[in-house]
């Protein structure tokens, strides 16, 4: 079968763009998540929109499951393709149009995130969503995961910037969702498609809204004796009606990891936490806001405050934050970058609990996160060759999720559910809602060929029965997910 399928796919894309040998498949067995791996059945790299459509149609005809993949930087095991065909979209890397007057750009899915901002920069425009992997990750992957980044506090995540999509559905048909004018031609299917983790189809052309590059930018770096006082500073800034472009925190473990690495940024290693605050906008507004923020930081107990507005100085302040994952990665062979969200006010207590969980399981956890929107990234450094340690990491991850959910939060803020978080979904959604998600997926993909086994545990995807509905009326919790 694979030989025949390989020949059929090779007829579409050319034989050099079909990969089947184990050594070739190795690259595609994992994404950015070290705890999961899966070998694809084969890998195909279409080189154009039409080739993608032909590949999807062929796989639909043959009823073969498939997974779309961008740069493979995802952190939830969302692009793993166990026994499925992996459709790699990195060859579709053209910026199809960039219209500065309308502040719109249309790109192919394989365009690397930072390339779009680079292309828009001569027109004083940029594309705000900036995942930490922005020099490698693709806009198509960002759409699939509804990716965020440090600057999403003020500017919003991917879904706030995508206005239209041309997609190929898993049955090979095409659909045009949304409109460059911002208003949809019907219900908000762009909003539904963004963040659907590659289970609704493949975006062939993505139209996004660009934003003007603000004329004024100032970055402040404050260090605090404790995480709690840094968290209080975060709340005080937000409560003052100031929405910084970014509001990032690193805990002591993370600061020390950075300072011990080649990325050392001069952060004080005895600090309990550092806070990076970036303010942008019109020059006068930035000046007024930074004066207010400096005063709030001081009142919350900042020990020192550094401030920079020229690009080189700002880059220095940011360096440690941007390279935090790299620095944490050198502590041990593997780094699990976790992702969860809690209400801002719960940050200090939740961080305390994460510390306790780390100690209870004797694992190293460092925290670097988007404090402004309560989006935590506990980083667990470990060695995946140690099975017993890996099991402790898995348990600790589960406990961290439970703590965040109990605090009123969510199991993922920007990395997606993928394979990693699938089994945590019942922590935040009842059986009725999970079943509805399965049905929504079937509206896009009746044969369930695209990215099988992700996001919703399969046991919730049974067909409705009348009996289950009547039970639901008695209360959602009464709906059964067993059997």
């Amino acid at each position: 079968m694979s030989d025949r399928l390989r020949d059929q796919l090779a007829a579409v894309v050319g034989s050099r763009w079909v990969r089947l040998r184990p050594a070739e498949l190795l690259t595609y067995e994992t994404d950015g998540l070290p705890t999961h791996s899966a070998r694809p059945r084969l890998v195909v790299l279409p080189g154009s929109r039409d080739e993608v459509i032909s590949v999807v149609r062929l796989l639909h005809r043959e009823k073969v499951t498939w997974v779309a993949r961008g740069a493979g930087t995802g952190l939830s095991g969302g692009a793993l393709a166990q026994d499925s065909v992996l459709i790699v979209l990195t060859r579709l890397h053209r910026i199809l149009s960039l219209d500065p007057a309308r502040r719109r750009a249309t790109v192919e899915p394989g365009v690397i995130n930072v390339r779009l901002s680079d292309a828009a920069q001569p027109f004083d425009l940029h594309y705000p969503p900036d995942p930490s992997s922005q020099t490698a990750c693709t806009i198509g992957g960002n759409v699939a995961e509804n990716a965020g980044g440090p600057h999403c506090l003020k500017y919003g995540v991917t879904t706030n910037h995508v206005v239209a999509l041309e997609v190929v559905l898993p049955d090979g048909s095409l659909a045009t969702l949304g409109s460059p004018h911002g208003e949809p031609w019907g219900p908000d299917l762009v909003g539904l498609f963004v963040g659907s983790e590659g289970m609704f189809g493949i975006a062939l052309a993505i139209t996004v809204r660009l934003e003007p590059i603000p004329p004024g930018i100032r970055t402040l770096l404050a260090d605090f004796a404790t995480i709690r006082s840094a968290s209080e500073a975060v709340s005080a800034i937000i409560a003052a009606g100031i929405v910084p472009a970014a509001l990032e925190m690193m805990d002591q473990a993370c600061i020390r990891a950075v300072e011990a690495s080649i990325y050392a940024a001069g952060y004080p290693v005895d600090a309990g936490a550092i806070l990076l605050v970036e303010l942008d906008g019109q020059v006068a507004e930035v000046a007024a806001e930074s004066a207010a923020v400096e005063s709030l930081l001081g009142r919350a107990g900042a020990r020192t405050i550094r401030s920079a507005s020229d690009p080189a100085e700002r880059a220095r302040l940011w360096q440690g934050r941007k390279k935090a994952f790299g620095a944490a990665g050198r502590i041990a062979p593997d780094l699990l970058v976790q992702d969860a969200v809690v209400p801002r006010s719960a940050l200090p207590d939740v961080l305390d609990r994460i510390g306790e969980i780390g100690r209870a399981h004797a694992i190293t956890i460092s925290n670097v996160f988007h404090a402004g929107d309560g989006n935590l990234h506990p980083n667990i450094s470990f060695d995946s060759r140690d099975a017993e340690l890996s099991e402790r990491v898995r348990k600790a991850s589960g406990e961290i999720m439970e703590v965040c959910v109990r605090a009123g939060g969510s199991i993922t803020g920007e990395h997606g559910v993928g394979s990693d978080k699938r089994d945590y979904m019942p922590l935040i959604f009842d059986a009725e809602t999970l079943n509805a998600m399965c049905r929504v997926r079937r509206a896009f993909d009746p044969d369930q060929l695209a990215n099988p086994g992700k996001v919703v545990p399969i046991r919730f995807c049974r067909e409705w029965s009348g009996a289950s509905r009547r039970r639901s009326i008695a209360g959602p919790a009464a709906a059964s997910d067993s059997s």
Binding site: T159, G186, A443
Partner: protein, 406 residues
């Protein structure tokens, strides 16, 4: 039939939660999501058609139905968390009341849709109708973090959450926003708030339309940073001049600097409105559509605004217009004929501009649909989603043209 439904509903919900409207149609006022589910489940089982109503201030309550389901009983503000800038609010809560409660805690929801202050949050979510603040704070979808909703066959579903960033599961919340109730009755939402700004200033320019749209473009080219920029057609008997409102929010120094920058070297004269006059202007913009029976919006980017305003004037004659010349939206209210509106939708579609019917009498909604012809591949998706959330349709909604659903 009507009496039987009335009696059956009273048995299920109790006498106080079921009344009759002016035409004798049973009108259920459930107090909880579970009670909404009970009504929808019953209606689905019995094949009754249900019309969902909020405060009755925006969409006329005139869709033919066997019973009306009002969200008036869902009137609790469950939680306001000023430190987290989120709130959990039931769908029947009026926006005016919500605004007052939020302001007491130093917060606000930067959405200022057209309509009366008691217009319900559920109506705002269902119609996706944002006002001038859309310029600075985004459309309705950007403010809704999660929703509880009830499907046409009586299932209670929850989407999203009450944190400001969340990608767990498919985004069913966004599907609800602006879907005119086709995918369920929203009963409760988690909303994202902002802290009240230290300073808020409104400036207004009055003049010929062309001069004001030119001025708006020039402000945008200069990187304007504003909460709202709204162009408004002349009021009744108010002469030929249009008005352009510019609202700034932020720190005092920042707002003053932006006000000075925006008004310097301007080809139009700006007046600074005192807080009372600013409030009056906002209120006039919100209430003006209610002077006519029909309101629609068109997505228009700034470079197409002048032409679309000409087309509207030529095709539909005078109407009440409110337009966002910065981010691109025109809202028109008046009394168009079916044919004129259908033609206009065609003209807009040729320019790739979607026209959404926001309100109007049922016969117009039914003939024209809230949305026009769907783009490639969208029709089958909408049908399958409709089947998912409202099988054998219970809700009386006219999403597309020429269809009665059910």
């Amino acid at each position: 039939m009507t009496d039987a439904i009335y009696t059956r509903l009273r048995q299920a919900l109790g006498d106080s939660a079921v009344r009759r409207d002016g035409f004798g149609t049973p009108r259920a006022i459930p107090p909880s999501s579970e009670a909404v589910a009970e009504i929808c489940g019953l209606a689905h089982e019995q094949g009754w058609r249900v019309r969902v109503e909020g405060q009755g201030t925006w969409m006329p309550p005139d869709a033919p139905a066997d019973l009306a389901l009002s969200t008036e009983g869902l009137d609790r503000i469950s939680e306001i968390a000023p430190a987290d800038l989120v709130a959990t609010v039931e769908a029947g809560v009026g926006l005016g009341r919500l605004g007052i409660e939020l302001a007491r805690r130093g917060a606000w929801l930067p959405l200022d849709p057209p309509g009366l202050p008691r217009r319900s949050l559920g109506s705002l979510v269902a119609t996706g109708t944002a006002g001038p603040l859309r310029h600075g704070f985004g459309p309705v979808r950007d403010h809704i973090l999660g929703a509880t909703f009830v499907t046409g066959d009586g299932r209670v579903l929850t989407a999203g959450g009450k944190v400001v960033k969340n990608v767990a599961g498919y985004d069913l919340t966004r599907l609800q926003v602006g879907a005119f109730g086709a995918f369920g009755v929203v009963t409760r939402v988690h909303i994202r708030l902002r802290a009240l700004s230290a300073a808020r200033v409104m400036l207004m320019a009055i003049g010929p339309r062309d001069a004001l749209t030119r001025q708006a473009r020039s402000l945008m080219d200069g990187g304007l940073s504003a909460a709202a920029l709204e162009l408004r057609s002349p009021g009744p008997g108010g002469g030929p001049d249009w008005s352009l409102g510019l609202e700034l929010a932020g720190t005092e120094a920042g707002v003053e600097a932006e006000a000075a920058r925006s008004t310097s070297q301007s080809e139009v004269a700006w007046t600074r409105l005192d807080p009372d006059r600013a409030a009056r202007f906002r209120s006039e913009v919100a209430l003006a559509p209610l002077t006519a029976p029909t309101t629609f919006r068109i997505g228009v980017l700034p470079d197409g605004l002048d032409e679309m305003l000409d087309v509207l004037e030529g095709r539909l004659g005078p109407g009440v217009i409110s337009a966002g010349p910065g981010r691109g939206l025109v809202r028109w209210s008046g009394e168009p004929t079916f044919e004129a509106l259908r033609d206009l939708r065609g003209i807009a579609a040729e320019r790739e501009m979607p026209l959404t019917l926001e309100r109007g009498p049922w016969d117009l909604r039914q003939a024209i649909g809230h949305f026009g012809a769907y783009r490639e591949g969208v029709g089958p998706l909408v049908s399958r989603l409709r089947e998912t959330f409202d099988p054998d349709p219970t809700f009386a909604v006219a999403l597309g043209p020429g269809k009665t659903e059910p």
